[in-house]
């Protein structure tokens, strides 16, 4: 309060007598001037987020793992896995001196469990990526995009993947 009063006293044109006069007849002249608004056009949405150090949205870690997101990321992981096999086989066979039957014969002496595991690791990602790939192609035709259908085809795909993996392993 005292600071405010002191400010009032310091203002020029307010020395019109006692305090009563100050409180009653104070008039401030305000001049309105129009100015063009400062428009920032250089910064886009992503740059602003970066400047304000906003965390990436959506926060993946706060979500409960759902079948939709899990099947989606698995599609990518299995795709990368199969690509890894294909590329490693190609480049590996280029680097190895002997031909394939030689190494295949060597592998025949490996333990059955190891071979079975290897076959599973080859067959499962391939089967998964193939079955889920059909689902993705269906979506690309704008079919089955309702959330209930996404779940239904998700479970169907998992069943198909299991069957295809078993068929590849045992047929």
């Amino acid at each position: 309060m005292s600071i405010a009063l002191r400010r009032l006293m310091a203002c020029p044109g307010l020395h019109r007598g006692a305090f009563g006069g100050v409180m009653g007849s104070q008039i401030r002249n305000v001049v309105l001037r129009s100015q063009p608004a400062a428009v920032k056009t250089a910064e886009d949405f992503f740059e602003k987020n970066e400047r304000l150090k906003r965390p990436m949205s959506p926060h993946l870690t706060i979500y409960k793992p759902q079948i939709t997101s899990m099947l989606s990321i698995s599609h990518r992981i299995t795709g990368i896995a199969v690509t890894g096999y294909v590329y490693a086989f190609s480049i590996g066979m280029m680097c190895l001196p002997a031909s394939f039957p030689h190494y295949c014969a060597a592998l025949a002496t490996a333990s059955p469990a190891l071979l079975f595991s290897a076959k599973f690791l080859l067959a499962f990602p391939f089967a998964y990526h193939t079955c889920n790939g059909v689902r993705h192609l269906m979506w690309d035709l704008a079919k089955g995009l309702e959330i209930s259908q996404v779940y239904k085809t998700g479970y169907t795909m998992l069943a198909a993947t299991t069957l295809l993996t078993l068929a590849l392993l045992f047929c």
Binding site: D44, E50, G79, V86, Y87, I91, F100, L115, T130, D140
Partner: protein
């Protein structure tokens, strides 16, 4: 806020600042959006010039993404036929076709992942370009390797078949070995 949401909900083709204000001034969107957001219509009319819309971010200018997208899907559908066909009717021609289509599909898939995860906002301007360039090199190398393998070795399909035949007897042996033991253990457990 509601306005911002409306702008986000617009299809991409309308998501440019010039086009958006143009359409609003002509009242073309009245039926679709302003029915649900009357306040947004009011705001848009009054502050037409001041609506700030985030500029569109193109991955690259001038590239025809529609054709690439369609080609990727066509190849994916094609692989669903080529892979079984290569195993049912094996021939050198099918082997080469399989090698080319498989590597192209792999390359496009990995390229999409690299574009998604190794992006300039995180890795700076150089590393993403190096990653894509290396991927092209790797894919060309892998394709060369597979074609060479089909030409000089047993071929892709035969190699898979040979490996796949390998352990059937061994698996049977494993089953024959493990099953009696399991049965024994179960019976032992029951009688003890």
């Amino acid at each position: 806020m509601a306005l911002a949401l409306v702008i986000r909900c617009l299809p991409r083709s309308m998501n440019g600042s010039i086009r958006t204000s143009h359409m609003w001034s002509k009242g073309q969107l009245n039926g679709s959006i302003f029915k649900h957001y009357p306040a947004a219509g009011l705001l848009a009319k009054d502050t037409n010039a001041m609506v700030a819309v985030a500029p569109r971010r193109e991955m690259s200018d001038g590239g025809d993404h529609v054709k690439l997208w369609t080609a990727e899907r066509a190849l994916s559908v094609g692989l669903l036929g080529i892979i079984p066909a290569a195993f049912i009717v094996p021939s050198p021609a099918m082997d080469y076709l399989l090698a080319v289509s498989l590597v192209m599909h792999c390359h496009w898939g990995i390229e999409a992942s690299v574009v998604d995860y190794i992006r300039p906002a995180i890795f700076g301007p150089v590393i993403p370009k190096v990653a894509i360039a290396s991927l092209y090199g790797l894919s060309i190398f892998a394709l060369g390797g597979l074609i060479y393998f089909s030409y000089s070795d047993v071929g892709l399909v035969n190699a898979v078949k040979m490996f796949w035949k390998l352990d059937m007897r061994n698996i049977l042996k494993l089953v024959c070995m493990v099953l009696p033991k399991l049965t024994l253990r179960v019976t032992h457990y029951q009688y003890s």
